[in-house]
Amino acid sequence: MFLLIYTVFFLFPAFSLQQHSCGAESEKWQGIDESVVKKFAKEHGREAKEPLINTDQGDLLLFVFLLAGTIGGFVGGYYWRMLAEQKQDKSADGTGNGHGNIH
């Protein structure tokens, strides 16, 4: 088990990283779109263009990600609560489980 974890998490990634990073400057915690997608695209003459709405400017990107994470978190929590409450309602009604499959 230890060997499996060691191989999967350290040995194989380290080997692969060493294989693909020859000659490339590697920045810590770079996203793989920079370290892989854009790197290979650039090598083959393709460059990324600016997005239609460019929020990647200063701290604006942090703001939109924080906003998106908060909204997504609230929506997820809201629906999870709804799912859990449906179960309680069903228990209270005594209607029990399933009325046939959806599919």
């Binding site: 999967v8 998490f9 350290f10 194989f12 990634p13 380290a14 692969s16 990283l17 294989q19 693909h20 810590k28 915690w29 770079q30 996203g31 793989i32 779109d33 370290s35 892989v36 997608v37 854009k38 790197k39 290979f40 695209a41 083959h44 003459g45 393709r46 460059e47 990324a48 263009k49 997005p51 239609l52 709405i53 460019n54 990107l61 942090l62 939109v64 990600f65 924080l66 998106a68 994470g69 908060t70 997504g72 978190g73 609230f74 929506v75 997820g76 929590g77 629906y79 999870w80 609560r81 799912l83 859990a84 449906q86 179960k87 029990g96 489980n97 046939g100 499959n101 959806i102 599919h103």
Partner: protein, 257 residues
């Protein structure tokens, strides 16, 4: 007492989701696997839109049909949409590689909602990310839908179904589905990228080169995605087994105690 306990567990999960999203999303810059605007030539970008379109249309049709049959389906779709959106733009640092990437969440939604609705959810998440989060591109959205939506959802769904057919434990089947959904996504991204940017170069060596470059980050992240998928399936099994039966994730006799 039991109700109170369950309510506080729900609230705890709710807070965990919000807090984790907020913290993790701001830890490092939002760069991940989605293919950025302008990377693929127009003809390739258009081809991937054509490939993705029937799956998105099938997802729309299925969602409409299922929502009309059962209203209790809606919260599960809402939950999965939020989960896929957050997960697929959540950069997670991978210490063994020193890079950041994200899981996809489509294996999980593929199992719980079926693969076509999962494709639709992925398409909506990718559209919002491309428009407002500078994450992926509009012209490359077709390619991103095919890799994350179509391949991720179908790989997760089919793996789960095959393993359950072989009577494999629910959590192991969930884990393997999440793992293979993640890896299938990145294998497809490698193929899309290699075919789009290769020019006069040979496809196969470039494909392997890109795939090997993804491995240090995506190998451990696939395992994380497997664990997340198994966790969600098991959590729903404990909280709403009836819903899993309705969605044909489980058979009625499997939840009868």
């Amino acid at each position: 007492m039991k109700v109170l306990h369950s309510k506080s567990a729900v609230q705890g999960l709710y807070l965990l989701v919000v807090t984790t999203s907020c913290i993790v999303l701001t830890v490092c810059e939002a760069h991940a696997m989605h293919i950025s605007e302008g990377i693929l030539p127009l003809n390739w970008a258009a081809l991937w839109f054509v490939v993705a379109a029937p799956f998105v249309a099938a997802g729309l049709q299925r969602l409409k049909k299922l929502s009309a049959i059962d209203l209790s389906f809606k919260p599960l779709v809402g939950l999965m949409a939020a989960v896929v959106f957050i997960i697929s733009c959540m950069p997670i640092p991978v210490p063994s590689a020193g890079t950041c990437s994200h899981p996809c969440g489509t294996g999980m939604s593929g199992i719980l909602l079926g693969p076509t609705i999962s494709v639709l959810i992925a398409a909506v998440a990718l559209l919002i990310q491309a428009l407002f989060l500078a994450h992926g591109g509009l012209s490359t959205m077709g390619a991103d839908i095919v890799s994350m939506g179509v391949m991720g959802s179908f790989a997760g769904y089919l793996t789960f179904k095959a393993l359950r057919f072989m009577k494999v434990n629910l959590s192991i089947a969930g884990f393997m589905a999440g793992l293979l959904a993640d890896w299938a996504t990145y294998i497809t991204t490698s193929a899309e990228l290699a075919s789009g940017i290769r020019g006069d170069s040979a496809f196969v060596p470039l494909f392997w080169k890109i795939l090997i470059a993804f491995i240090p980050t995506q190998l451990p992240l696939g395992i994380l995605e497997g664990a997340m998928t198994a966790g969600m399936v098991v959590l729903l099994y404990k909280k709403r087994p009836d819903l899993l039966v309705k969605m044909r994730v489980l058979k009625p006799e499997e939840i009868a105690i």
